[in-house]
Amino acid sequence: MRTPRVTQNFRDRTAVILTPGGRSLDALETTLRRLGLTPEPRPLTVPQQGLELPENLLPEQHIVLIDGDLSLPPVWPESYGLADAMAPCPTIGLVGIEAPSRLKALFQLGALSLLPKPIHSGSVYSALFLAVNEFSRMNGLQGKLDDLTERRRKRIHVIRAVAALMRQQGLTEDAAYDVLRKDSMRARVSIEDHCEILMRARPEGDAGRQLSHKRCQTR
């Protein structure tokens, strides 16, 4: 996988700050503005209530800062369709009480960097830098993982196509695979997709498979 380009300038992004009401966030907001971001504090209206995570965060537009001292839900809303411990946008944890339960809550929500409270202006750029770039790297890895999972799921088509070609053309396994690989490159698709298309277009090419399968079973 190619390493994603590093983001070094965060201007025009919105920093959504999920915080208990009434606490001073002056240093954080001032530093965020200096860095070209728009701070958007969303204090809890009823501090005793648990935090409700927003459903409209966008990966390229938002950065979210979550106060770990709040009562946090264990996961993001289902509408995001996220994997475990992943966040919809770069996420920074604000750490007050440095207890395992609070850190775990932030970790489960996909916080990729932490800012200790009270917030020191000299730490904010580093926290943004790490959260945004780590988010981008994780997204890249997730994409790669999805691709590999999809390829593994389609591997059966390759096996069927190799077997069909061996039967039809009398080729060895390696030779059959080589033909399919070259054809897929010519068609500019993955070998898995190529084989899937091939087998769907020529279901008769797979006809003998049932027979051999039964033979295997009778043994």
Binding site: Q8, N9, F10, A27, T31, R34, S121
Partner: protein
């Protein structure tokens, strides 16, 4: 009128490896203290207390502690970024205020610091525009192996690549290194349109001398064929380079001693009268001079030397400086300054080539000008696919 008596710490290493430049900083601050004290309308009387950390990083924190123990809460000082980083925690812990008068690489806006030197958008950004328009788009970058060199060259690389240019090579030398033969051979071989120099102190002076000599030996006119551009080249340093190599070099700065106008003439004359043995007037001297005057104005306006009140008063404070109008930006506590590009002469002064029409708002994080993504070298057009 009752004047507020205000002890002020002056923290400058006027001896040590960067002693020449730090000495001009100290002189600029001392001149401003004297002017404020002599002005019946100023409202402040300074009691300067100087400590020389001798350029040794380990001496900075104890020096600041000594100042704080004497009840000093306003300290004008530091040249290198590493020394500034060393003292900021102490300054913040004791809620004092550091008046930092040096051009630097940016990426900081500490709560208890007022920055009166140039931010990167004041020196590097205008220099890139100038070099690309005047000389071309290929650069050889050289720097001292620490944050100033690294970050200056990064901004140069980003700026050039944004304009379709390229960095042919990027080389770093330890601070104080003067063995430059390999570097010079490489420059002559690679033939860049210009050389960007972020060396400091003795390494920089040695480079100017050695490269000029190498060019003369080969019949090359260094000034026109391989122009050298710096963001940290001032008048005292031209004298340190000496007659071979001091002329024809490009410097991006917010102040040159040769600026026209009565205000600057008064400043230069007062400086030379007070410090006849030098070092010469420089941008650093002017920045320290601005720092102390800004402090005096802010204290007078606040009616107290209490740090929070002075910080409130210095936000938006304006000073008629030798370089022109200077304002402290309330957002970043950096100064609005006027970028200029000068060409050094054999009399160790600069001829002004380009000047911004008005003071420029500081952008310490290069939020307005930097690309959002880091620039990368061009990718090959073919790539291997599986």
């Amino acid at each position: 009128m009752n004047k507020i008596e205000l002890p002020i710490g002056l923290l400058f290493s006027d001896t040590g490896s960067y002693g020449t430049v730090a000495h001009t900083l100290l002189n600029g601050a001392r001149l401003a203290c004297a002017e404020v004290n002599a002005d019946p309308a100023s409202g402040v009387t300074f009691e300067p207390f100087h400590i020389d950390p001798q350029g040794d990083l380990q001496n900075y924190a104890p020096a600041v502690q000594q100042m704080l123990d004497r009840g000093i809460r306003h300290i004008c000082g530091c040249y290198t970024s590493s020394s500034r980083k060393e003292v900021i925690p102490l300054i913040e812990k004791h809620d004092a205020l550091l008046w930092y008068p040096t051009h630097y690489e940016g990426f900081e806006s500490a709560t208890n610091v007022v920055y009166t030197g140039a931010a990167p958008n004041h020196h590097i950004s205008p220099l890139i525009d100038f070099l690309c328009a005047r000389f071309g788009h290929s650069a050889y970058c050289i720097g001292s192996n620490y944050i100033w060199g690294w970050e200056s060259n990064r901004v140069m690389r980003d700026g050039l690549q944004k304009r379709g240019g390229e960095v042919l090579a990027e080389r770093y030398l330890p601070v104080g290194e003067t063995a430059l033969d390999d570097i010079i051979s490489e420059i002559l071989e690679l033939k860049p349109d210009f050389v960007f120099n972020a060396l400091i102190g003795d390494s920089s002076y040695a480079f100017f001398r050695a490269f000029r000599t190498a060019c003369i030996d080969r019949g090359i006119d260094q000034v026109t064929r391989f122009p050298i551009a710096s963001c940290n080249l001032s008048e005292p340093e031209l004298q340190a380079i000496g007659p071979v190599g001091a002329d024809g070099q490009i410097s991006s700065s917010v102040y040159f001693a040769s600026l026209p106008g009565a205000r600057n003439a008064r400043f230069v004359a007062a400086y030379r009268e007070r410090f006849p043995d030098g070092p010469a007037v420089s941008a650093e001297a002017e920045a320290a001079y601005i720092s102390v005057h800004m402090l005096a104005k802010a204290v007078a306006q606040a009616g107290t030397a209490e740090v929070a009140a002075v910080q409130d008063a210095v936000a938006g404070q304006v000073f008629d400086a030798p370089q022109g109008r200077v304002t402290i930006d309330p957002e970043t506590f950096h100064a609005e300054l006027t970028p200029r590009i000068g060409l050094s002469r054999s009399d160790f002064e600069f001829e002004i080539l380009v000047e911004a029409a008005r003071p420029v708002t500081p952008d310490p994080y290069l939020v307005a000008s930097a690309t959002k993504l880091e620039t990368v070298q061009r990718h090959p057009r073919m790539r291997i696919v599986s």
